[in-house]
Subunit: 187 residues, 2 copies
Amino acid sequence: MALRHAVLAALLEGEASGYQLAKRFDVSVANFWSATPQQLYRELERLERDGLLSGRVVEQRRRPNKRVFTLTADGREELHAFTARPARPTAMRDDLLVKLQAVDAGDQDAVRKALTVRLERSRGRLDLYDRLRDGLLDGRDEAAYLSEADRVGPYLTLMAGRAYEQENIRWSETVLGILDRRAAARR
Amino acid sequence: MALRHAVLAALLEGEASGYQLAKRFDVSVANFWSATPQQLYRELERLERDGLLSGRVVEQRRRPNKRVFTLTADGREELHAFTARPARPTAMRDDLLVKLQAVDAGDQDAVRKALTVRLERSRGRLDLYDRLRDGLLDGRDEAAYLSEADRVGPYLTLMAGRAYEQENIRWSETVLGILDRRAAARR
DNA sequence: TCACACATGTAACACGTTACATGATTTG
DNA sequence: CAAATCATGTAACGTGTTACATGTGTGA
């Protein structure tokens, strides 16, 4: 039941329509909670029905109208209560690692290819996170930011994403090296 | 559809019953694909029905009988084909990071508590992975192991788990430090 | 004797994914 | 003129979670 809370947490950044929320998830939230647009539309309806969000239609001239959603007081309370409930251990589910586990009985070249794709993706994400970080810091150093900012949550989750991608890059490079050496030794 | 392939990959280590497979997932597979016993029982039935596994009943004297499953030739082929299909980007879903994102509107102490629980868990997992690694290496160094072993997949995914938990430990410690300093500054 | 490990499942529900549908406007 | 972006959704299906049910054997 944490998609709800990921949505509520994302709306702390300010009101959004389903479409805008999907964008927001793509760039920053996906880092700790990924969701498809369809899930978001469904969840927004439920949250509104349950009184945790309120929606209103914004009429637009050269665009289709949109429905933007804002946290209600109940929504904020629910989010607060959620942070106090015990978190359950995270479930990892990584396609690529299943492939790597089976690499000795699988297609070596395809797995190496998949690793390079992952590596490139991680580099891209890291670049994005660095740019987002620069935007948050806005010239200040980290210590200054942390003592001035009234919200540190988004910064800390961003740093988690950065660390995760950096580790991913290091690990992928190591594994690619190992697989390449083994491939060379087999010829 | 990758639970199937995680099960097939886990059975590369040798035949297992549903119960044994659940244990195997807990200690090593959970690192890249977590699943509940219920999911495993369901999937084992499907895989047998589809001819990718064959099951046989092992009668036991002082224990309930068990059904152990083995990869069939079709199962190995399917696993090979899977390694060659494009992997999709991993979907992160982390409860704790949702809480951290909302920490400024949430219960600070509860979030710090949750972080220490996560930290302890990561330390435990890291210890486990170190012991599993020692078991695999069996006195050899990594280079010797990698050139001698006929399967490197399980070692490489284990190293992914190690790296992930190490990073988690570093990051949790940093974040706890930051939150503690902020809590102190607010008094 | 009490809790834990062995061993297998069912049922109901919640959540996530994929494909499709619609239609306007802006950018190349 | 085509492709991408804005904007919202439905339907069908596949996967994952939770609670429950059952019974034996082993070790503290």
